[in-house]
């Protein structure tokens, strides 16, 4: 079994799919970072901010001064170019991974599944020789040139993509999504002005069709992409599906990332054609195809075993981590325990109104906080429905008002949350002293149970 896996892992394969993947990934991050700068989001997310909500375990990640935050984004552009051209590749991709992940870790309210995906893929790209062909590096150092590489270098990206889709599909198999067609029954009519098909969105049946199609698409698309005879049609579906959701919903560069990433499933010959086309389009010497075919360096048996073990560990983690929700009692849409890092995308319509009260022991007065003093609308929206962020905000308020000279003894909050168009309910008892609760992996028994 292990030996068969080994043969499979280290059978030589054309490097072309990986090279095209590298180029497209670099272009996508280039577009994403440029978009970020053009929209002035560096300012909005990282400069004009008073509170940063932290990831559990990453509380030590601090916001850098504005100059550095801008510098980081220009470096991300440089690193992206390095990835595209395979120039100083290891440095570029490592730099990209570190800086991008750092930016993501600063404030959890900006968490997006596809940013997590970009981080993961960037990390994986550090360990593969994506610059061994059709790159500045391989042109400058001919002994690095490879036209063939061990198969695992390409497989891991396919598997990771399959996991994303499959878990996204799995998450859609639930009563609300399939039997009530929620939240699409809310989101589609809000798009009734959409060109050509907008009028269809007023009918509940459309929401049902979209819900079921979406679930089946996510669940199956990975397999259809793997299977050669269905691959092309599957990829057309990927384009249609992401183009449609991208046009309907405010989801940024996500559709682009998925459409270009899934090209990796195509054959080596197909990717070779792309590279051939590119080298004709840009007739620079370092983009020319080498005349000799070079086989992969076969690593020692020990290193082969190591690669396989690391891959097994990596994918075990990525299969198990999204599944951790089974360990928690209650409705995780409501508690959001194990909700993040689980490829649960566009799955629920949830919003809250959170009113915080700060009790000052000195004056024995309780004040009502105006959240807009401290948070922007995005942060407030995210905080008001996520229990862990509510705890963090309570701690922030304590610190802030203590600096103002108050003896803050208690911070409590009245948080009403509406989930999938159900009347809003109290997320937890409004008399709880939030300062007495600390966040952990343990189930949040202080939350009210979600009742239909």
């Amino acid at each position: 079994m292990f030996n068969r896996l080994k043969t499979h892992f280290f059978s030589p394969q054309s490097i072309a799919p990986l090279v095209v993947f590298r180029i497209l990934f670099g272009l996508a991050t280039l577009i994403s970072t440029t978009r970020f700068l053009v929209l002035d989001w560096v300012d909005l997310h990282f400069v004009d901010t008073q509170v940063q909500f932290k990831y559990f375990g990453f509380e030590w990640v601090q916001l850098a001064p504005p100059v550095i935050m801008y510098a980081i984004h220009y470096l991300l552009i440089l690193a992206s170019l390095g990835i595209v051209f395979g120039a100083f590749y290891r440095i570029s991709i490592t730099l990209f991974f570190v800086l991008f992940t750092y930016c993501e870790l600063i404030d959890i309210t900006y968490y997006l599944n596809h940013y997590y995906f970009v981080s993961i893929v960037a990390f994986m790209l550090i360990w593969v020789p994506a610059n061994a062909y059709f790159s500045y590096d391989s042109f400058n150092n001919k002994k690095w040139v490879r036209t063939q590489i061990p198969a695992w270098n390409i497989y891991i990206f396919k598997w990771q993509l399959c996991l994303v889709y499959f878990f996204a599909g799995l998450a859609k198999i639930n009563e609300t999504w399939l039997l009530e067609a929620l939240p699409l029954k809310i989101w589609l009519p809000a798009n009734s002005h959409f060109p050509f098909i907008g009028w269809l969105f007023q009918y509940p049946i459309t929401a049902y069709i979209f819900s079921w199609t979406g679930m089946l698409f996510d669940l199956c698309i990975g397999f259809f992409l793997f299977y050669a005879p269905t691959r092309f049609y599957a990829w057309l579906l990927v384009i249609i599906f992401h183009a449609l959701t991208g046009a309907l919903f405010q989801i940024g560069v996500f559709p682009l990332v998925m459409v270009v990433s899934t090209l990796i499933f195509f054959s080596a010959a197909f990717h070779q054609k792309i590279l051939h086309f590119l080298s004709r389009l840009f007739p620079y010497p370092f983009l020319s195809e080498p005349s000799t075919i070079r086989n992969p360096n076969y690593p020692s048996a020990g290193r082969q075993n190591l690669v396989i073990m690391v891959c097994i560990l990596w994918f075990s983690f990525h299969v198990l981590f999204p599944l951790r929700y089974v360990l928690y009692p209650g409705n995780f849409y409501w508690t959001e325990e194990a909700y993040r890092f689980g490829w649960r995308v566009m799955l629920m319509e949830k919003a809250g109104t959170a009113t915080f009260y700060v009790y000052d022991k000195n004056t024995q007065r309780e004040g009502v906080v105006d959240n807009t003093t401290f948070l922007n609308s995005h942060q407030e929206k995210q905080m008001a429905m996520q229990p862990d962020l509510i705890l963090q905000y309570a701690q922030f308020l304590k610190k802030h008002y203590q600096e103002q000279g108050l003896a803050v003894e208690k911070v409590r909050a009245e948080v009403y949350v509406t989930l999938n168009a159900k009347p809003s309910k109290l997320l937890f008892n409004e008399h709880l002293n939030l300062l007495a609760i600390s966040d952990s992996w343990a189930p949040k028994y202080w939350l009210n149970r979600f009742e239909e």
Binding site: H114, A190, I197, Q250, G252, V369, Y416
Partner: protein
């Protein structure tokens, strides 16, 4: 499997095709979909433009009476100006709800409500600008001008008409400052009113729900306007902010005229009109309520909202006839109860409403699929 894919593909292509064909002859099914265009045009023509028109109209009377007062500084002319200020301040409550589009920030100019509607004003700053004979407004002290600066200059602080008059005697700079404040208000109002005439068409035709769409602008400002009533007209004067150690009755809107209770009632009424879609002239029309009526879970939210509106209305109705500042000092609990009910009402306008109608409240990308 290839067949299956082809089938799904042709189904989607087919849907797209049907969609593009049918749109022309079919259009919207009135019984099912909510027509945001109807809400926008109702609000624009029945509420927003009339609100600015009436504001400009009452401003003209105020400006005229100020001129008269200046020409002949008598108690009678002062009282006429005071009355006209009250009328104008009432009409302002309605215009203030639509602090977007032509009223939005432009360069260093803040929104209309911030430029002319800031309160409480600083009597110290106003007096020192008068002393310096400085009517340039070339500063960021927005609490030294606008509607409530005019109020201070016309009503004084706990002063009789004769005492106020005495302050103007042989005081050209005081008159000049009063006139400058009035001009500044008139100019800004007129600009927004005029711009709405051309903005109206694009406002009504932007029927999306994403950030920057008319529905989103209208809704987000509606919410801010509501929060303004709760936080600034009740919360701060009641001493509700953390760190406030005492009530601040002088922080109410319209402290000097003692007209705060009436203005708060108008503010509240305007919130209701927008939600219901009722026009300024009382004619019923399409508002957020009609919108809710057409969406998933909307009917339940209408009932919940109306119940809490009624509870709030009851508390507002039982406020004493005095000004809010007096009521806060003498009858704290009755004012506090209004604030409590307003707090309870917040979620029905905030997260519940925006969630059900799918309006963007934030610029950022959401989670993709």
């Amino acid at each position: 499997m290839g067949m299956k894919n082809k089938a799904v593909l042709s189904l989607i292509v087919g849907l797209l095709f049907i969609g593009s064909c049918k749109e022309k002859d079919k259009g919207m099914d009135a019984s099912l979909a909510f027509d945001r265009g109807a809400l926008l045009s109702n609000l624009a023509s029945g509420m927003i433009m009339p609100a600015y028109d009436s504001c400009v109209f009452y401003f003209a009377s105020l400006a005229q009476s100020i001129q008269q007062f200046r020409a002949e500084p008598t108690v009678l002319h002062l009282q006429v100006a005071q009355q006209n200020w009250k009328q104008f301040a009432r009409s302002w409550q309605y215009a203030a709800a639509f602090n977007f589009g032509p009223a939005a920030e432009k360069g260093i100019k803040k929104t209309l409500a911030e430029e002319v509607g800031s309160f409480p004003v600083s009597s110290t700053k106003i007096e020192s600008f008068i002393m310096a004979n400085d009517t340039s407004f070339a500063n960021f002290d927005r609490d030294s001008r606008g509607i409530f600066a005019v109020e201070y200059l016309l009503f004084g602080e706990n002063e009789s008409a004769n005492e106020i008059l005495a302050k103007y005697a042989n005081q050209a700079p005081r008159f000049l400052y009063l006139l400058a404040c009035a001009n500044h208000i008139g100019l800004n109002l007129k600009l927004v009113q005029t711009e709405w005439k051309t903005y109206q068409a694009s406002f009504v035709s932007s029927v999306g729900t994403d950030i920057g769409s008319s529905t989103s602008l209208l809704y987000n400002e509606f919410l801010k306007y509501y929060e303004g009533l709760k936080n600034f007209k009740f919360g701060i004067p009641l001493g509700k902010r953390p760190g406030q150690t005492t009530v601040l009755p002088k922080s109410v809107e319209a402290y000097y005229s003692g007209y705060s209770t009436q203005l708060a009632r108008e503010h509240w009424r305007c919130v209701q009109l927008i939600w219901e879609g009722t026009n300024l002239n009382g004619k019923s029309g399409v508002g957020f309520k009609a919108y809710l009526d057409k969406v998933e879970g909307g009917k339940a939210l209408i009932d919940l909202t109306l119940a809490q509106v009624k509870a709030t209305q009851n508390k507002l109705d039982s406020l004493p006839a005095s000004s809010l500042s007096t009521a806060i000092s003498n009858d704290f609990n009755r004012v506090d109860e209004v604030h409590t009910e307003l707090l309870k009402l917040t979620r029905f306008y905030k997260s519940d409403l925006s969630s059900l109608i799918g309006i963007a409240v934030t610029y950022s990308s959401g989670d993709g699929d």
